[in-house]
Structures are given as structure tokens and as C-alpha cells.
């Protein structure tokens, strides 16, 4: 009798562990924090790509509607892939797109744009990668949809934009 109980409890324990591990496998191990919207502070300064002037990101978000902040670099291959989506978004004329040029060489960045087209309303530079950390970014490419009035992040896309992300953006903008 006590042997039976032992056997059953061992089997149950094994099954229990098995399902916990199985569930663990399903979970993506890429960690992404919950967006704490209220804590995003756009009050930091950065230099424009096309001039020597500096600007507060806050001032770029001044008008009504929504803005898209896109972190990119000329050396980043996925950025090349997502560029068409950005040009597409620009042609919709619904939002201003702010580019953050991440750890890039100015010359290469400008060449990248003349090659593929410039979807950005404003481009600021981030030579040290510090401004991107202020936004809570991990790297390139990353895209944030922001409500200009409340300064809240409506949606965050980590990694290059794709059909799915574009459809989602399109839905929100319309």
C-alpha cells in the first residue's frame, strides 16, 4: 500500500515537472519589459543629422496626432529591409517619422538615405547609443508609435517592421 502511494507520487511529480518544463519551452526567452508609458521622458537633447543644431525630442513631438520614432543605422541589415515600410508610411502622410541614427558614421548614414530614399521628417543622431537607452531601446532597429499630445508610447516594435507590424500600424493610424 505504501509502495503504491510512493509510486503514484513519483509518477505525479514527474508528470508535474514535465509539464512545467514543457510550458517553459514555449515561452520565448527574449525578455521585453512591460511598457511603462508614463515613465518615458522625451526631454533629452540630440544633434540633427543634417545640421549642427541640437534639439529636444519633446519639441519634435509638438503637433497634434501621432509620431513614429524609428531607430536605425546604415550598418544594420534589417534596417534596409524595413525601409520600404517606412517609405510606405510616409506616403500615407498621416504621421511624422523621426529617425534616430544609432552609432553610425554620418557619411554612411547620408549615403544610405540617398540610396534608399528618406522617409524621415527629422533625423537626430545618437553616436554613443545613449539617447536610445533613454527611450528604453535594446538596439537597432526599433520603432515606437507615440501619441504627440499625451507623449505616451502607443505601440513598440522591437526588430524590423514587417507585414504584420505594418498592418497593425496602418490600423491604428487610420
Amino acid at each position: 500500500m505504501s509502495n503504491n502511494i510512493k509510486l503514484i507520487s513519483i509518477v505525479l511529480f514527474t508528470l508535474f515537472s514535465f509539464f512545467i518544463l514543457l510550458k517553459g519551452l514555449d515561452k520565448s526567452n527574449i525578455y521585453s519589459p512591460e511598457i511603462k508609458e508614463s515613465n518615458v521622458d522625451f526631454n533629452f537633447k540630440a544633434k540633427y543629422l543634417f545640421s549642427e543644431e541640437e534639439v529636444f525630442i519633446n519639441d519634435l513631438l509638438n503637433d497634434e496626432g501621432m509620431s513614429l520614432i524609428n531607430i536605425w543605422a546604415s550598418w544594420c541589415l534589417p534596417c534596409r529591409d524595413e525601409h520600404a515600410y517606412l517609405l510606405n508610411l510616409k506616403s500615407l502622410n498621416k504621421l511624422s517619422i523621426i529617425g534616430i541614427n544609432y552609432k553610425d558614421d554620418e557619411k554612411n548614414a547620408k549615403q544610405f538615405l540617398s540610396e534608399l530614399g528618406n522617409p524621415y521628417t527629422n533625423i537626430i543622431t545618437d553616436p554613443m547609443g545613449i539617447n536610445s537607452i533613454e527611450l528604453g531601446a535594446f538596439g537597432v532597429p526599433e520603432t515606437y508609435l507615440i501619441d504627440n499630445k499625451s507623449k505616451l508610447i502607443i505601440h513598440k516594435f522591437i526588430g524590423p517592421l514587417d507585414d504584420k507590424a505594418f498592418a497593425k500600424l496602418y490600423d491604428i493610424i487610420q
Binding site: Y31, P33, E134, F138
Partner: protein, 121 residues
Amino acid sequence: MKKIKILFKLLIIFLFFQNYSLAEISQDVDKISKNLRCLICQGQSVYDSQSDFALSMKILIQNKIDEGKNEEQIYDFLKTKYGDWIVYDPEISKNTVLLWVLPLILFVFGGILILRKVSIK
């Protein structure tokens, strides 16, 4: 020959002091970055990692120290950006209370078991 020796010694002394001063500047950054998880690397701290993310993070920490922020303020700043996960030392909260209390419960439970065994004998 003697001159060369003296020069050599001077060089060593010079290099020693140079390294020393460099170490002093970044000591605080090292201390803080050792407590931060590099979010895009697996199982590495920001201090250990040479990824773009970690390198930027170290510069940012140095900037914050220069601004006069203390360690706690820097952790809090990064927690608002990246969540509690970025620090290695989790705070006691609703989600982590089990993590902190469980070893204590097990310890007490084990103690009770041992005491009972001993008293039965």
C-alpha cells in the same frame, strides 16, 4: 646602460600611475554595471559584455555619475526604462515575495522534521 635602466623604471612608474588613475575613474561604473543584467546577452552582466547595448549603458552610467546621481538613482532610472529585470538583486514585491520567503519556510520546515526525528528516537 644605466640611463636606459632609469628610463625604463620611470616608464613603469608612469604607466602604473596612469593605469591607477584610469581605474579610479571607472570604478563606480564597474560597480554599478556588475549589478546590471545585459538584456540582449544571455547570462552576462553589463560589466562583462562588449555588446553595443552594454557599451552604451556604461557610457550612460558614467554620464549619470557625472551629473551627480548616486547608485540608487541610477538603478531606479534604468528600472523605469527596462523593468526590474535589469537589476540582479530583485526587490521584495508581490511577484518576488515567494522567492525571498521560500528558503526561510524550507529551513523552518526542515528544522521541524529533524527535531521530530530526534525526539522520536
